[in-house]
Symmetry: C2
Subunit: 234 residues, 2 copies
């Protein structure tokens, strides 16, 4: 498969068109950004780690019957994915309170949510990705009610699979963001699953093993991502 032109360059990835209309190459960059892109650094090795971690986790989900866009890892920092028409919605699942939900609602950090919370956000940098409800999704025609129900159901299935897998590796799946797209009428999980898009804590020490280390200037960023890779590939 041959890359032709970059269709979309985001903060952390480039999506390349290929000589096949059905497939794209997803390239992971070394850029780390936070706070709507106001904080930005290039961190050598990040792209390779996220590509490897995402490949492992997509592989896990595929094995468990989740429909994802992942085809195969083709280089250190690239994977082949199915071409999707992405929905303008982010789906967030929270097992433990962290980040924006604590600031927005005054909820104590590390409070456990059982059953987990599923939230939807509008993908819109200019509006700072506001939280939205099913009513907003309806009136903005972002997805059908059936697609919303399917995203919620898939997000919870993914939660069960990922949480169990990570628990066995002494990691807590705190929260994560998913993006779905359409292949024809079929809803398919796209984007990436990495410490950029998930929060992982060490189950024994509580140590932060995700992008919060960058957001909070904690250091040990590449070491944490390397440790995540080691555990998910063990």
């Amino acid at each position: 498969m041959k890359k032709t032109k970059a269709l979309y360059e985001g903060k952390a990835k480039i999506l390349w068109e290929t000589d096949s209309p059905d497939y794209m190459v997803q390239e992971f960059k070394n850029d780390a950004t936070a706070f709507d892109g106001t904080k930005h650094e290039v961190i050598a090795g990040k792209g390779v780690l996220n590509n490897r971690i995402s490949s492992h986790l997509f592989g896990l989900l595929k094995d468990k019957g989740v429909r994802t866009h992942f085809i195969e890892k083709i280089s250190d920092n690239e994977m082949v994915v199915e071409r999707l028409e992405m929905l303008r919605v982010e789906v967030v699942v929270r097992n433990v309170a962290a980040g924006s939900i604590c600031r927005r609602l005054g909820i104590e950090a590390l409070k456990r949510f059982d059953p987990p919370i599923v939230e939807f956000y509008l993908k819109d940098d200019d509006l700072h990705d506001p939280i939205i409800t099913q009513d907003h999704i309806r009136i903005m025609e972002l997805a059908t009610q059936e697609q919303v129900d399917q995203m919620r159901s898939d997000a919870l299935t993914i939660n069960t699979v990922m949480r169990g897998f990570l628990e066995q590796r002494d990691m807590v799946l705190v929260d994560y963001k998913l993006e779905f797209g359409l292949k024809g009428d079929e809803l398919v999980l796209g984007d990436e699953i990495s410490p950029d898009t998930c929060r992982f804590h060490d189950a024994k020490t509580g140590e932060i093993m995700d992008k919060d280390r960058f957001r909070q200037d904690m250091g040990g960023f590449i070491e944490a991502y390397t440790e995540v890779l080691e555990r998910v590939s063990s």
Copy 2:
């Protein structure tokens, strides 16, 4: 009934305990506030108008079988209401886009929503009343699922009643905020229903007949509220 002590003083109202444990006196003040209280004025006549308008609209809803806290108007700026244990949730119904939904989601002003949108907000000044979902209501234990369903259903019944009533008076019910409380296990509509808590537009001219005149420094505030009173009492 005799007022004893002020239990709660808000931005626009005082709730007085009385010599009866079941009833309170709700006094409407002349204070107008906006933008989390950063804008504040005292507008002579506002309390009297809101007391009259609220009394009319609560009376209308009671006649249509909606369970409200309203008992009777007892003076120019006071009504007797049932004492409720208020929920920490605001319910907003939107028939037409205006205000925060346009800013938050980039929706064009005056877009019509059919069916209407029902939103829930956390009553918390320090957090600027953030929008919340049913999941947040559950984990913060703000209401039971049954109460959420009942609030949504009551809010839509109220919408049908009020919209029809106002249409006959050449007014568009753009949106409004409701607050519910509990009398034992029973969910009861509390607070007020006035141009402070609803947006009303003149159906023919589109003229703004609500607190947006204050928020936007448009002038003609008391004239607009007086016109609302004349129409709802006609």
